[in-house]
């Protein structure tokens, strides 16, 4: 029987692989237990036995295929760890720990705006079907540098999505932060730090509740190593907290941005 909890990594076989453009890849794993327990905003620690780095890497999951018990790990090659992962083939194995962290509170009532920058689309690939199922007022604002890196468009065709590219090669020209709407109650955002900061600033004095998924380098992903701490406002003032345990999703009003 498949078991998975915080106590150990589970080796999972790669059942499918997709190579996107510009060094983006998707690996697909069969795990009914993980697929049914993952929520948008959760992350997974992935250990590659063939990778030179000693430490595992945190990844958000992409699409969830509940009927098949398959989940997707979507990533961009940015270093030796992801280079090694990109060389994996169907049938190879990676060790996975999760679900970890706190997901987006999708269950909160109100009109929802999802904001994705670049590979920040990843957590929303599982959020969109959930929001569609709930018959709520929701939409996705998705931006990337060019049309070539604006991925998952066939999948996203089933959902209300506004696209933006830096060069205008698809959707509206400009940054996602130029297309923010005040007419929403909830905002969930994932993407580059500067984008998140501008989203937080835009809604700072509005009643909209804003939740951001922060990215931080991690060692363990489980709160033990304290390698992912960053400044956050708490009841006691500004403190360093662990993104893996207290996050990675934070209320925007709590996040302290670097000067």
């Amino acid at each position: 029987m498949e078991t998975m909890d915080k106590k150990g990594y589970t080796p999972l076989e790669i059942v499918d692989k997709r190579e996107w453009r510009e060094d983006f890849f998707s690996l697909f794993f069969h795990s009914p237990l993980l697929t049914s327990s993952l929520r948008s905003g959760h992350f997974l620690m992935v250990r590659d036995p063939d990778a030179p780095p000693l430490l595992s890497r945190p990844f958000s999951m992409g699409r969830l295929f509940h009927d098949e018990g398959v989940f997707e790990l979507f990533f961009q090659v940015v270093g030796k760890g992801t280079e090694s992962m990109a060389r994996k083939r169907v049938g190879d194995t990676l060790s996975v720990l999760g679900p970890l962290g706190n997901p987006f509170p999708l269950e909160k009532p109100g009109r929802v705006l999802l904001i994705a920058g670049g590979r920040g689309i990843s957590p929303f690939l599982s959020a969109l079907p959930v929001l569609a199922e709930s018959k709520r007022d929701y939409s996705l604002l998705y931006g990337a540098k060019t049309a070539r890196t604006l991925l998952f468009r066939p999948f996203l065709a089933d959902f209300p999505v506004s696209y933006r590219t830096d060069d205008g090669s698809f959707g509206q020209r400009g940054l996602v932060v130029d297309g923010l709407s005040r007419e929403v109650d909830l905002v969930f955002a994932c993407g580059p730090e500067k984008m998140l900061e501008r989203v937080a600033l835009f809604y700072k004095d509005l009643p909209t509740e804003v939740y951001l998924s922060l990215e931080e380098r991690m060692g363990c992903g489980t709160g033990i190593c304290y390698g992912c701490a960053r400044k956050v406002r708490t009841d006691r003032g500004v403190e360093m907290v662990r993104v893996c345990e207290e996050g990675p999703v934070f209320e925007a009003s709590r996040v302290v941005w670097d000067e």
Partner: protein
């Protein structure tokens, strides 16, 4: 069962299995994973008499060697 207890100065340890500094947080973080009562002890990360804010990111960086060092981030 053999008595493996030992002392360092005034500290008495029930057995010599002591988790090294840095790998075990402050001890309590490992509670979901192992029975802490089975350990002889835990050596914590550096602590100060009064709370301190800790250091900002980046706290870990890639290294060409395989030696890693975690800067301390949160003080207790």
């Amino acid at each position: 069962m053999s008595d493996l207890s030992f002392s360092i100065g005034p500290l008495r340890f029930p057995n010599p299995v002591v988790l090294a500094s840095g790998t075990a947080g402050y001890g309590y973080e490992l509670e979901p994973y192992i029975d802490l009562d089975l350990l002889g002890g835990v050596i914590t990360k550096g602590i100060y008499p009064a709370p301190r804010a800790g250091n900002p990111s980046p706290l870990k960086l890639p290294s060409k060697t395989r030696i890693s060092s975690f800067n301390l981030s949160i003080s207790r």
